[in-house]
C-alpha cells in the first residue's frame, strides 16, 4: 500500500474545516453550503474508513497500513498504523461525526460555521489518536482535542458552560502532564517512542509501576473513572447535543483505547500489579454512579452518570485480561458509543422542543410522540443490556471474563446490571408513560424526517450487532489474542526470572 490512506483519513476533516473557514457569510445560502460541505467531508471519510475495513486483513496480528516518516530528525517519527482494535474505533468516529453534523440543524443557533469547524478538527484529532503508533504523536492528538472541545462546551453550552469547560480542560490537562513526563522518561531510557519497538524491547519491570501510574492519571481522568469523573456530568449537561455526542461516543473511548494499547500493551507487569485497584475503582464506578444516576432529575446528567458506570464495565473488562473480557470491553465501547450518542440525541430532540431537560417536565409522551417513543425504547433497552442489543454482547462478555478472573468482583458487577436496568427503565417510564400532565407537551411535534433518519441510522447497528456480533469480534480477535499472549508471556518470564 503506497497510498497513505490513514493519513488521508486523518487529514481529510482538517482540510474540510480549512475549506469551511474560507466560506464567507453566515446566513441562508452560505449556511446551507457550509452544512453540505461538512456533511460531504464526513460522509466521504466514513466511506473511506469502511473501505479501509474492507482492505484490512483480519487474520494478521501485525499493524497494517503503516506509515513511517521522519518528523523530528532522528528523534520522533510520524508513525501511524492500525490493528484490529483501532479500526473499530476509527469507524465509530467516522460513523458518529456525520450524525453530529446532521444533528446541528436545530440545536446550534449561532456561529454554525465555527461549530462545524471545531467538530471536523475534533474528528481529525480523534482518528489520529486511534492511529498513532508513536507515544509523542499520540500525545499530540490526545491533548490537541482539548482545544476544540473546550470551545464546543464553552461557546455553545448551556448556563454553567464556563464552569464546566474550565473543569473539563484543567482536569484533563492535569492528568495528561504526568503522562507527558512518563513519555519523555520512556524516550530517554529506551531511545524511542515507537510503540511497536517498545513492544519488542519491553519496559523494565522496575519502572513499570511508576510509568503505569503516570499513564493511568491521564486515562483515568479521560475515561472517566471514579473519583475523577466529576467533570463529565458537568461537561455533558452544558455541552450542546452534538458536543455531548462527540464527548460520550468517542472522546471517552480514547482513554479506553489508551488502556488497551499502552497500559496493557506496554506495562503488563504493572497492569497485573494494579488490577485490584482498577477492579475496585471500576466496581465503585458501576455501583455508586448507578445509584447517583438513579437520583438524577436532569436527563442529560442521568445519561452522563450512566456513561461513567458503563465505562466502569469497560475498565473492568480490560483488566480481566481474558479474551472475553477484552473483546467485551471493545464491543461495549463501540456499543456505548452508539447508544449514548443516540440517547443524547434523543434528549436533544426533547430539549429543542421544550427547552427543558428535567424529567419532571415530561410524562405521557407516548401519546404525542409515538415514533420517538419506539426509537427511545430501543436505545433504553440497549443501554441496560437487553439480549438482542449490542449492549448485551459487551456486558455479557465482560462479566464472563470477570468470572474467569475473580468471582467476587464479577458478582458485585452483576448487581450493576440490575441497577442499570432500574435507572434506565425508570427514566423511560417517567418520560414516556404516565399521565400527560404538562399541557405544553400537547403542542410538540413528533420526530421530523432528519431526526428519524439520524436515530434509525444508529438503531440499525445497535440491533444488528446485538444479534450478530461476529463481524466486530472477528476483527478484534487476532489482535486481542496477540495482546494477551504477549501479556501472559511477560508475566511468565518475569515470574521465571524472580522465582
Amino acid at each position: 500500500m503506497d497510498f497513505p490512506i490513514l493519513s488521508s483519513i486523518i487529514l481529510l476533516p482538517s482540510i474540510g474545516s480549512l475549506f469551511l473557514f474560507f466560506i464567507k457569510g453566515s446566513e441562508g445560502k452560505s449556511l446551507q453550503t457550509i452544512k453540505y460541505v461538512a456533511l460531504f467531508v464526513t460522509i466521504t471519510n466514513f466511506f473511506i474508513s469502511i473501505y479501509l475495513w474492507y482492505l484490512f486483513d483480519e487474520t494478521s496480528s501485525n499493524f497494517q497500513f503503516i506509515e513511517d516518516k521522519e518528523w523530528l530528525d532522528g528523534f520522533i517519527n510520524y508513525k501511524v498504523g492500525i490493528d484490529g482494535i483501532s479500526i473499530l474505533f476509527i469507524i465509530l468516529t467516522t460513523f458518529i461525526t456525520p450524525l453530529c453534523v446532521l444533528s446541528v440543524n436545530n440545536s446550534i443557533k449561532s456561529r454554525l460555521k465555527d461549530f462545524l469547524i471545531a467538530i471536523l478538527l475534533m474528528e481529525s484529532l480523534m482518528i489520529g489518536v486511534f492511529c498513532s503508533l508513536d507515544l509523542i504523536i499520540f500525545y499530540l492528538f490526545f491533548e490537541g482535542g482539548l482545544i476544540p472541545m473546550f470551545l464546543i462546551i464553552g461557546i455553545w453550552g448551556g448556563e454553567r458552560r464556563v464552569y464546566s469547560a474550565f473543569k473539563f480542560f484543567l482536569y484533563t490537562l492535569f492528568g495528561s502532564v504526568l503522562m507527558l513526563v512518563a513519555i519523555i522518561v520512556i524516550y530517554l531510557t529506551y531511545g524511542t517512542t515507537d510503540v511497536t519497538k517498545l513492544y519488542e524491547i519491553g519496559i523494565n519491570a522496575n519502572f513499570q509501576n511508576l510509568l503505569w501510574l503516570a499513564f493511568f492519571s491521564s486515562f483515568a481522568v479521560k475515561t472517566p473513572m471514579w473519583p475523577v469523573h466529576t467533570w463529565l456530568p458537568d461537561a455533558h449537561v452544558e455541552a450542546p447535543t452534538a458536543g455531548s455526542v462527540l464527548l460520550a461516543a468517542i472522546l471517552l473511548k480514547m482513554a479506553g483505547y489508551g488502556f488497551i494499547r499502552f497500559s496493557i500493551g506496554l506495562f503488563p507487569l504493572a497492569s497485573e500489579f494494579f488490577t485490584p485497584l482498577i477492579y475496585f475503582l471500576s466496581l465503585v464506578a458501576i455501583i455508586y454512579t448507578s445509584f447517583v444516576a438513579l437520583m438524577q432529575e436532569d436527563m442529560k446528567k442521568l445519561i452522563a452518570y450512566s456513561s461513567v458506570a458503563h465505562m466502569g464495565y469497560v475498565t473492568l473488562g480490560i483488566f480481566t485480561n481474558t479474551q472475553q473480557g477484552l473483546e467485551g470491553s471493545i464491543v461495549q465501547m463501540i456499543s456505548h458509543g452508539l447508544v449514548s450518542a443516540a440517547l443524547f440525541l434523543s434528549v436533544g430532540v426533547l430539549y429543542d422542543r421544550t427547552h427543558s431537560r428535567l424529567i419532571k417536565t415530561y410524562g405521557g409522551l407516548v401519546s404525542v410522540m409515538p415514533k420517538y417513543s419506539i426509537l427511545l425504547m430501543i436505545f433504553t433497552l440497549s443501554a441496560l443490556g437487553l439480549p438482542g442489543t449490542s449492549g448485551f454482547v459487551g456486558e455479557f462478555l465482560i462479566l464472563m471474563g470477570a468470572f474467569r478472573d475473580n468471582f467476587l468482583v464479577a458478582t458485585i458487577a452483576c448487581f450493576g446490571v440490575i441497577l442499570g436496568a432500574a435507572y434506565m427503565l425508570w427514566l423511560y417510564k417517567r418520560v414516556i408513560f404516565g399521565k400527560l400532565n404538562n399541557k405544553d407537551l400537547l403542542k410538540i411535534d413528533d420526530l421530523n424526517k432528519s431526526e428519524i433518519l439520524v436515530l434509525s441510522i444508529i438503531a440499525l447497528p445497535t440491533l444488528f450487532y446485538g444479534f450478530y456480533p461476529e463481524p466486530l469480534l472477528n476483527t478484534v480477535e487476532v489482535s486481542v489474542n496477540n495482546l494477551i499472549d504477549t501479556y501472559n508471556y511477560n508475566l511468565v518470564s518475569f515470574g521465571a526470572n524472580n522465582g
Binding site: 523530528l72 530528525d73 470551545l151 464556563v162 502532564v177 507527558l180 513526563v181 519523555i184 530517554l188
Partner: protein
C-alpha cells in the same frame, strides 16, 4: 586588527545611530524618515551578521569579545524583535504623540548594548553593554512623560535596576579580586571549588542578571513597569532584554563557572521553580493585560531557566529554543493589543476583550492560538518549547523540577483560558477600529502562522539551535 570585519554589525549600527541623531536634529519633523531608516539599519545589520561563515568562533580584542554561533543567533533574535517592535508600533506612537526621533534611536542604542552584552566574553565589556541597554531602557520606560504612570515606571525601573547593577558590579569586583582577571576564559582556568570569594561573586552577578530577566524573587519591578510604559515599549521589554540577559547568563555560567556547577545550580533551580510557581499563581488575579503578560513572562523565564540549570548543551539549546518561540508568541500577543483601538484610545484591560470573537473573528482566532500556545497546549509551538525543556531536564533525572514545571503549566493554563473565555464566551462590546497598518498585520499573521504550523516541520528550528555548543 584584521578581524575587524567581524564587528562590522556593531560598527554599522553605531555609525547609523550617530547619523540618525544628527539627521534628526537638523531636519525637523523627520520621525517617519528616521523610523524607516532605523528599520533599514537593523535589516542591514542582520545582513552583515548573516554574512559570517556559519562556524565562526573567534575571540577579538584580547579575548574579551566573542563571535560564535550562539552570539550570532541571539543577535539575530534581538534585531528581529527590534524590527518588529518598530514596525508594529508606529501608529500607537502617533496617536499618543510619542512619535519623536528619539524613540527609534533609543531602541537602536539599546539593541547595540544588547549586541555587546551577547558577544561579551569579559566582565567589563559585559557591564558596558548592560549599562548601554539599561540607560536606553530607562528613558524608553518613561517615554510618555506626560503620563504619571509612565514616569513612575521609568523611575521605578531606574532605581531598582541601578541597585541590581550595583550588586552586579560588586560581584564583578569580587571575581576580579579573587581571580585577578576579568576574562571569562581565564577565570575558568583559575577557578576551583575552594575559592569562596568567587562563589560570592557568582551569587551577586546572578542576582543582577535575574533582575534583568525578572526572575522571582527579583521580579517586583516587572508588573509595574510593564503596565506603566507605553505598550510599544512594553513589547520591547518583554522580548529583547530577555534574550540578551539570557545569553549573558548562559555565557557567564557555562564559560567561566562550568566546573563549579554545584555552586550555582541550586540557585538557578530555585529561581526557576519560584518563577514558574509565582508567574502562574500571581497572574490569575490580574485585570490588565500588560500586567498579566508581565506575570506570564516571569513564568516563562522560569521555564527558560529550568533548561539552563541542567548543565548540558541540550539544556542550553532547549532554553534558546524556548526564548525564540517565546519571542514569537509575545510579538503576536502584542500585535493583538495594538489592534484594540477605538477613537484614538488603546484598550488594555482583559474586560475590553469581551466578546471579541463576534466583532473581530480573525484577531480573536489569532489571539486564541497564541494564548493556547503560551499555555503550552499541543500541537502549537509553545508545547514544543516546553517539551524540549522538560526533555533536557528529565535527561538529567531532575524529576521534581519537571513535575513542578508541568503542574504550573496547568495552573497557568487557567488564566490563559480565562482570556479565551472572555473573548469567546462573553457578550460583545463595541467594535474596534479596523485601520491596522501593514506592519501590524504582517507581524500578527507571521507569528500566528509560525505558532500554528510549527508542528508540521519542527526539525528546522531544532537543527538551527542544536549547533549551539557552549560546553
Amino acid at each position: 586588527m584584521d578581524k575587524l570585519n567581524f564587528i562590522y554589525p556593531e560598527i554599522f549600527i553605531s555609525l547609523s545611530i550617530m547619523f540618525l541623531l544628527i539627521l534628526g536634529v537638523f531636519k525637523k519633523k523627520s520621525s517617519n524618515l528616521i523610523i524607516s531608516l532605523s528599520v533599514i539599519t537593523l535589516i542591514g545589520t542582520l545582513v552583515l551578521i548573516f554574512g559570517y561563515p556559519i562556524n565562526t568562533n573567534l575571540n577579538l580584542f584580547n579575548g574579551s569579545y566573542k563571535i560564535d554561533y550562539m552570539s550570532s543567533y541571539m543577535k539575530i533574535l534581538t534585531i528581529l524583535s527590534g524590527i518588529f517592535v518598530l514596525i508594529t508600533s508606529s501608529k500607537f506612537l502617533k496617536i499618543y504623540k510619542l512619535f519623536n526621533i528619539e524613540y527609534p534611536i533609543l531602541i537602536l542604542c539599546s539593541i547595540l548594548g544588547m549586541m555587546v552584552m551577547i558577544s561579551s566574553n569579559d566582565l567589563i565589556v559585559f557591564y558596558i553593554g548592560l549599562e548601554l541597554q539599561s540607560l536606553s531602557l530607562y528613558v524608553l520606560a518613561a517615554f510618555n512623560r506626560d503620563q504619571i504612570k509612565s514616569s513612575e515606571a521609568g523611575l521605578k525601573y531606574f532605581v531598582l535596576s541601578a541597585l541590581s547593577s550595583g550588586l552586579l558590579l560588586y560581584g564583578c569586583s569580587l571575581i576580579y579580586g579573587f581571580s585577578g582577571t576579568t576574562n571569562f576564559d581565564q577565570i575558568s582556568i583559575l577557578m576551583n571549588n575552594d575559592q569562596y570569594g568567587l562563589t560570592f561573586g557568582i551569587v551577586f552577578i546572578l542576582v543582577g542578571l535575574a533582575f534583568k530577566i525578572s526572575a522571582v524573587p527579583f521580579h517586583m519591578w516587572a508588573p509595574d513597569v510593564y503596565e506603566g510604559s507605553p505598550t510599544s515599549v512594553t513589547l520591547f521589554f518583554a522580548v529583547a532584554p530577555k534574550v540578551a540577559a539570557l545569553t549573558v547568563i548562559i555565557r557567564f555560567l557555562y564559560v567561566p563557572f562550568v566546573n563549579v556547577i554545584d555552586q550555582w545550580q541550586l540557585i538557578i533551580i530555585f529561581l526557576s521553580i519560584a518563577s514558574m510557581i509565582f508567574g502562574a499563581v500571581a497572574a490569575i488575579g490580574q485585570k490588565n493585560l500588560k500586567r498579566l503578560i508581565a506575570y506570564s513572562s516571569i513564568g516563562h523565564m522560569g521555564y527558560a531557566l529550568a533548561g539552563l540549570c541542567v548543565g548540558t548543551n541540550q539544556g542550553i539549546q532547549s532554553s534558546v529554543l524556548y526564548i525564540s518561540i517565546y519571542l514569537v508568541m509575545n510579538l503576536g500577543f502584542f500585535s493583538c493589543l495594538f489592534m484594540l483601538k477605538r477613537n484614538n484610545t488603546y484598550f488594555e484591560n482583559i474586560d475590553d476583550l469581551s466578546g471579541l470573537s463576534k466583532n473581530h473573528p480573525l484577531i480573536s482566532l489569532s489571539l486564541m492560538i497564541i494564548l493556547f500556545s503560551l499555555a503550552g497546549i499541543p500541537p502549537l509551538a509553545g508545547f514544543f518549547a516546553k517539551f524540549y525543556i522538560f526533555k533536557a531536564v528529565l535527561d538529567q533525572s531532575m524529576y521534581y523540577l519537571a513535575i513542578i514545571g508541568l503542574l504550573t503549566t496547568v495552573i497557568a493554563a487557567f488564566y490563559y483560558l480565562r482570556i479565551i473565555k472572555i473573548m469567546y464566551f462573553d457578550l460583545e462590546k463595541e467594535k474596534y477600529d479596523k485601520d491596522y497598518n501593514l506592519g501590524l498585520k504582517l507581524t500578527l499573521t507571521l507569528s500566528t502562522t509560525l505558532i500554528l504550523f510549527y508542528f508540521i516541520y519542527p526539525s528546522k528550528l531544532l537543527n538551527i539551535v542544536s549547533q549551539i555548543n557552549i560546553i
